[in-house]
């Protein structure tokens, strides 16, 4: 029998984004995945099902996405790192437990390999139509973190970031892939385990009696705990006090929900990753994310060769939305184009952030296909004419 792969499969690989995502999660320390099959995300869990039994992890295929999105949270509270993986229709079902993760402050990673909707839509065809759902999909006020990768390499790199952020901020962290990135093959360099920055779970060191699960001792995030440490924790999706006990009054609601939001909104600079290129004194900057950023890179390079002073901004982090970074881009360019595979989601965030500073143009479609480089080149020409 062939030898087992090492836990971190260091080396240069030619794999697709879904597999890179799975390997990245493993490298980040994820050892429990609950999922439900749905195209085009299924290869992620299929890969986990194969890999986990040899590295002491466990994958379980649940009866639906409602179950898949809470089962792993049970594992997380036992002390392990966990995640779930899905696509559009399954993402809709998971919203209940996005809210739960926000309320319980479960360090949790949700991967959404986006496909064209609404409803069953156009399975296996790409889209970026779930960006607002990621932000607002569950009821109530809360904040989440969402990253979007543009290549198989970024699938590996940034799923690790997702896990680290979920540990640091204890909130739902979304990995907003899309069908194209998920199924695109590319070179993926997996570094040596020692070279991968992994934030391990930090459980409280306070003894029972001196610890409250939702009290802020330092910083803006409560100290995590796991079952069996003697703290006799009670964790509830009801509005709760610092002890974790239900607190059925408006003051407790104000305190808790404001804290759930501010722990993210106060740390935008720490969370936000935005990659810019050639934005200084430019005539136009194309703002995009996910696979659309690859197209933007090509379109901008092509138009630059033709003498157009164009730049790019790739939003690796979509949520929390970095208004300040948008203002900075606006201050350095004459036009902004927001390109995304939907009929206008993040473009409205950009417009809100930059106000009237510069014209914000939109290039999108209803999903089902990526935005063609020709269309994007045309748009860049049009706005710089």
């Amino acid at each position: 029998m062939a030898k087992s792969k090492p836990i971190v499969d260091t080396g240069i690989h030619f794999i697709d984004g879904n597999m890179a995502c799975a390997e990245g999660a493993i490298a980040a320390g994820c050892r429990f995945v609950s999922g439900y099959p749905i195209t085009p995300s299924t290869e992620v869990v299929e890969h986990m099902a194969k890999r986990f039994p040899e590295i002491g992890g466990m994958f379980i295929q649940m009866e639906d996405e409602l179950a898949a999105s809470i089962c792993f949270q049970g594992a997380v509270w036992s002390g392990v790192k966990g995640m779930t993986v899905t696509s559009g229709p399954g993402f809709s079902l998971m919203m209940e437990h996005v809210g739960l993760a926000a309320a319980l402050e479960t360090p949790s990673v949700f991967v959404d390999v986006q496909r064209a909707g609404p409803s069953t839509g156009l399975p296996t065809a790409p889209a970026q139509q779930d960006m607002m759902q990621a932000r607002w999909g569950s009821h109530g006020d809360y904040e989440i973190i969402a990253l979007s990768p543009s290549s198989p390499q970024e699938c590996f790199d940034y799923i690790v970031t997702c896990f680290n952020l979920s540990e640091k901020y204890r909130c739902p962290v979304f990995f907003m892939m899309d069908e194209t990135v998920g199924h695109m093959h590319g070179k993926v360099k997996i570094p040596d385990a020692s070279q991968i920055d992994v934030l391990e779970r930090q459980n409280t060191t306070r003894p029972p009696g001196e610890y409250q699960p939702y009290k802020i001792y330092e910083g803006s995030v409560p100290e995590m705990v796991k079952v069996g440490m003697g703290h006799r924790i009670h964790i509830t999706g009801l509005t709760h006090d610092e002890q974790g006990y239900p607190a059925m009054n408006a003051d407790a609601q104000q305190t808790l929900v404001k804290r759930l939001c501010s722990k993210i909104t106060d740390n935008v600079d720490d969370i936000s990753i935005i990659k810019t290129e050639n934005i200084d004194d430019s005539d136009v900057v194309v703002i995009s994310y996910g696979i659309t950023s690859r197209i933007a890179e090509y379109a901008v390079n092509t138009t630059r060769e033709q003498g157009i002073n164009a730049g790019t901004a790739q939003l690796v982090t979509i949520w929390p939305f970095n208004d300040r970074a948008m203002m900075e881009i606006a201050s350095k360019t004459k036009n902004i184009i927001v390109a995304e595979m939907n009929l206008g989601q993040i473009v409205n965030e950009v417009r809100r952030a930059v106000g009237n500073a510069v014209p914000v143009h939109f290039l999108g479609n209803a999903g089902g296909r990526t935005i063609s480089p020709e269309l994007m080149i045309g748009k860049i020409r049009e706005v710089t004419r």
């Binding site: 590295i55 009866e63 049970g74 594992a75 997380v76 779970r201 796991k226």
Partner: protein
């Protein structure tokens, strides 16, 4: 001045959260009393007992038991508990919730948790109604009974929950009432000791909503009914235990030892992967 007396099982309850939310005469508290006594009898290591609830009057149980406990979402406690149980092979995970939570919104999770024979104990308090939301019809509301959403009487067929769980693969299935406290406590002891999916349906009065609306009197009247209509049939074929007017079949219906989800998983992986298999041990 009222003197506050202590209770023998105080240590197992979050006394700092008392008074609890349950109405006078409600059977949920009685079932909890049986549960704490079962824990005591078993001398369980409380660091290795975790209680998970869904939503509803019974769903509040997790908040009163003094162990690591989780109050999750409506119907999904079983799925949360599956992840927790798999990750804590040395712990006992208990799901404590009501009939609406477990048999209606959680029905899909119930059949699959039973099918997988996940190592957990489920205590399902059946009071024939949704208490927390004001007395709506549930899958267990008897024929013609009034509920706020069946103002002219229930017209749906009702679930025979033990049969559902047994047919789905549950390896320990019992039914008792909150009148039968000794038997219920003993059943809880057996269920907690049982490796695999153990399930107890606990018939219980909701005097505030179900009984008042159906003019069934006070809780004590239902207790009397439980006493008079009880027919104890251990090992009964669960197809015959549907709740009918005048006859309440109780007992331990199923008690078989089959591989738990974890055991089946490990056996399969050892066979397929041999030395390469590394068992999942959670975080320890």
């Amino acid at each position: 001045m009222t003197e506050i007396k202590s209770h023998p099982v105080d240590g197992l309850l979050r006394t700092d959260r008392m008074p609890h939310i349950w109405c006078p005469g409600c059977g949920v508290g009685t079932s909890v009393n049986c549960f704490t006594r079962a824990i005591e009898k078993l001398e369980m290591d409380l660091d290795k007992l975790h209680v998970v609830s869904g939503i509803g009057c019974t769903g509040r149980v997790a908040g009163y038991i003094n162990v690591d406990s989780f109050h999750t979402t409506h119907g999904r406690a079983l799925a949360f508990a599956t992840g927790l149980s798999l990750s804590r092979p040395d712990s006992k995970v208990v799901v404590y919730s009501g009939d609406g939570d477990i048999a209606a919104i959680g029905g899909n999770h119930l059949i699959h948790a039973a099918r997988r024979n996940v190592d957990m104990t489920v205590i399902c308090v059946n009071n024939y109604t949704y208490g927390m939301t004001g007395g709506q019809v549930t899958p267990t509301t008897p024929d013609k009974a009034l509920a706020s959403t069946t103002p002219f009487g229930n017209f749906e067929h009702t679930f025979n929950i033990p049969n559902l769980v047994a047919a789905s693969g549950g390896t320990y299935v019992a039914r008792w009432t909150v009148f039968h406290v000794r038997q219920l406590t003993r059943a809880m002891v057996s269920a907690l000791k049982h490796p695999g999916f153990s399930f107890i349906e606990v018939l219980s009065p909701c005097p505030t909503l179900y009984m008042r609306r159906n003019k069934l009197g006070a809780a004590v009247n239902l207790m009397e009914y439980f006493k008079e209509s009880a027919v104890i049939e251990n090992g009964a074929d669960t197809r015959t235990v549907a709740l009918n007017e005048g006859k309440t079949v109780l007992g331990e219906f199923v008690n078989v030892r089959l591989p738990t989800l974890r055991e089946s998983y490990e056996e399969r992986m050892k066979e397929a992967l041999g030395e390469k298999f590394v068992p999942y041990e959670g975080s320890k």
